[in-house]
């Protein structure tokens, strides 16, 4: 008997940050998941089984993530873990899941550990921060004819991935990383970091930052008359940047995989989707809502393909021959195989123009 799958229900577990530093993202991702789940269930579920989401809060704390995972896996007996937010949190929870043969499906983190080292229970969907920067940076360097590339990054597992991506990219160009500087999560003052980069004469700065730090860094730079090209990862690709940072943010580049669903988006399906989301949850959707939505969408496809007899093994079998076509948000085609567990490592470049993200390139191939 497969745990988490009954005659008329499939139990999906997710762990989000609902009270910690990323509570906003956690909530949006969960709403996105719920939206797709409701759609699937309205259409009769999957092979007669309705999807049910059990979510836990880990407050972005690895210890709580373990406890939450134990509860979901051993107490609620979920079939699969989907869309768990945070790198360290996933790393802490995965052993608990794998002990019980529970798949870690499309965690919301772009760390390489989500599919490496190989484990048959790991599936990951989006290009890692590492790959994003590694592939996008050379293009931008050439375009802007940059001479001195620097990076400022958050002193944690997320930031270091961006920094490594930048180093790898520069290696291919035979360029040194002129200056690198860090800050601690939650920092509010970036004056000395900016001064350092300014003093080093950087003309392209890779941002291993998230939201407030991005705005803080760029704001401080603009004030002190330091105007290099800024490039961020998909962590920067959120509407909050231009909403909070205002005009100063114009010109910032970021890599991204799916598009931000603006309510007044030109594309009709996205507009329709965004309005539906807004009606349901009474808030504007973000790119994290899209992640959540896409995760359940992929999960449903695989479960459907796995057939009537849904087990971990049949799900894996279905996944490993899976090809997910690009969707309306502009995601890249994702393919999986018994050895390839990352859907796609490609991303696009976008830029803030007139206070809005605009996609400025196609998928950047190596």
């Amino acid at each position: 008997q497969q745990q988490g799958v009954s005659k008329n229900e499939i139990l999906i577990g997710t762990i989000q940050d609902m009270s910690g530093p990323l509570a906003g993202y956690g909530k949006q991702a969960r709403n996105g998941m719920l939206l797709r789940i409701d759609e699937v269930n309205e259409q009769g579920g999957i092979h007669g089984r309705k999807l049910k989401l059990v979510s836990e809060d880990d407050g972005y704390d690895p210890k709580k993530a373990v406890l939450a995972a134990q509860k979901l896996v051993n107490q609620d007996k979920i079939f699969i873990m989907a869309g768990h937010l945070g790198t360290a949190q996933n790393l802490a929870a995965m052993p608990v899941q794998f002990e019980k043969n529970v798949i870690n499906f499309f965690p919301i983190t772009a760390a390489r550990e989500m599919y490496e080292p190989f484990n048959r229970l790991k599936y990951s969907f989006a290009a890692t921060y590492y790959d994003q920067i590694r592939l996008a940076l050379p293009k931008l360097v050439k375009e802007k004819n940059a001479k001195k590339v620097c990076t400022i990054y958050q002193d944690d597992d997320f930031g270091i991935e961006v920094e490594r991506g930048a180093e790898a990219a520069l290696k291919t160009l035979n360029m040194p990383l002129t200056e690198k500087t860090t800050y601690k999560r939650g920092a509010t003052d970036f004056s000395s970091q900016v001064a350092k980069m300014k003093a080093a004469g950087c003309d392209l700065v890779v941002l291993g930052t998230i939201i407030r730090e991005t705005i803080g860094t760029i704001g401080e730079s603009r004030k002190t008359g330091f105007n290099p090209t800024f490039l961020g990862s998909s962590a920067v690709y959120t509407d909050l940047i231009h909403k909070l940072g205002g005009k100063a943010m114009d010109g910032l580049y970021a890599t991204m995989t799916v598009q931000h669903p603006y309510l007044d988006e030109a594309s009709q399906p996205i507009r329709f989707w965004a309005t539906k989301y807004k009606t349901k949850f009474n808030e504007d959707p973000t790119v994290f809502s899209v992640y959540g939505y896409d995760i359940i969408d992929a999960l449903a496809r695989a479960a459907d393909k796995a057939g009537q007899n849904l087990t971990t093994d049949s799900f894996i079998k279905a996944m490993d021959t899976m090809k997910i076509p690009p969707d309306m948000f502009g995601s890249d085609e994702a393919t999986f195989s018994p050895t390839k567990r990352l859907g796609s490592d490609l991303s696009r470049l976008s830029q803030i123009q007139d206070g809005k993200w605009k996609v400025v390139s196609g998928y950047v191939k190596p």
Binding site: K27, Y183, D189, K223, T224
Partner: protein, 291 residues
């Protein structure tokens, strides 16, 4: 010039620490407890200002004043409801209580749909303005912080030194029993202290908001203000400012001249060094029980 610019950034950041540290010192001097909720009160103050401006559509000054007044009232109510019942218990209980208050405040704000989990901007009239003095760039947002910190410090200092009320606050923190014997309305004074502390926190929140944005976790900056208060000597108001400045400047310079990692820990290294050379901080009283 580089150094000067760094020092100036350090000073403005230091004033932020100092401003929050003022709140700690105020509560400490008047009740001898350390409030871990000060950062959260600051966050609430910023949200109150935001609510005034966006929800109620107040003009800037009205929103600021009403946020401060609202927070002062909130402080008084808070004291009445949760602090007063355990007045007189060991200080440590009250410290734990403030940690609890911090959790609840942060959680409640997070629970507000659509607002709690988001980051907002507080639209202030002086947003993004800059003064160029020679080659130096002075940020108006930060200059306002510096000015307000100075004024608040002087006011509070005068209150504790010269007003009967201020002395009574200190008296009731040093020996509550004796304060009762003297007819000092300890409870009412305590309420006043918390009201005042909440108002100071609100001011800090409103001044900080343009720099750090308004969000549920903005109170964590308080963790840097603790070292500032200790460096200056926990019971001393001018000490809070000086401590804040030292921490700010050291941070700024070490961020530029020292390897990565030092900027983030500068505050803590400074405080440890200070405790080794001067265990009671720069301006702290040297205390010893006479037996």
């Amino acid at each position: 010039m580089q150094v000067l610019q760094l020092v100036i950034s350090g000073i403005s950041q230091g004033c932020i620490y100092g401003l929050i540290a003022l709140g700690f010192v105020l509560i400490y001097k008047a009740t001898e407890t350390v409030s871990f909720a000060q950062g959260e009160l600051m966050m609430l103050g910023a949200f109150a200002g935001l609510a005034g401006m966006t929800l109620l559509g107040f003009p800037y000054w009205l929103a600021v004043i009403s946020a401060i007044v609202a927070m002062a009232a909130f402080g008084v109510v808070l004291e009445r409801v949760v602090i007063r019942p355990i007045l007189g218990q060991p200080q440590f209980s009250i410290v734990m209580l403030t940690i609890g208050i911090g959790y609840v405040a942060r959680g409640l704000i997070t629970m507000i749909p659509n607002i709690g989990t988001e980051t907002r901007v507080l639209p202030v009239p002086y947003k993004d303005q800059i003064w160029n003095v020679g080659t130096l760039v002075l940020n108006v947002e930060q200059m306002v912080v510096i000015g307000a910190t100075g004024v608040l410090c002087v006011l509070l200092f005068a209150m504790f030194r010269y007003s009967k009320l201020g002395i009574a606050m200190q008296a009731s923190s040093q020996n509550q029993l004796a304060a009762y014997y003297m007819g000092i309305p300890v409870k009412r004074i305590n309420g006043l202290v918390w009201g005042l502390a909440a108002a100071v926190a609100a001011i800090a929140g409103l001044l900080l908001a343009p720099i750090t944005f308004v969000h549920a976790n903005m109170g964590f900056i308080g963790l840097k203000a603790f070292p500032a208060a200790v460096v200056g000597g926990f019971g001393s108001l001018p000490g809070a400012i000086v401590g804040g400045l030292i921490v700010g400047i050291v941070e700024s310079l070490s961020g530029f001249y020292l390897p990565d990692g030092f900027k983030d820990t500068a505050a803590y290294i400074v405080v440890l060094v200070m405790l080794v050379i001067k265990p009671n901080g720069l301006f702290g009283e040297k205390l010893r029980k006479k037996v």
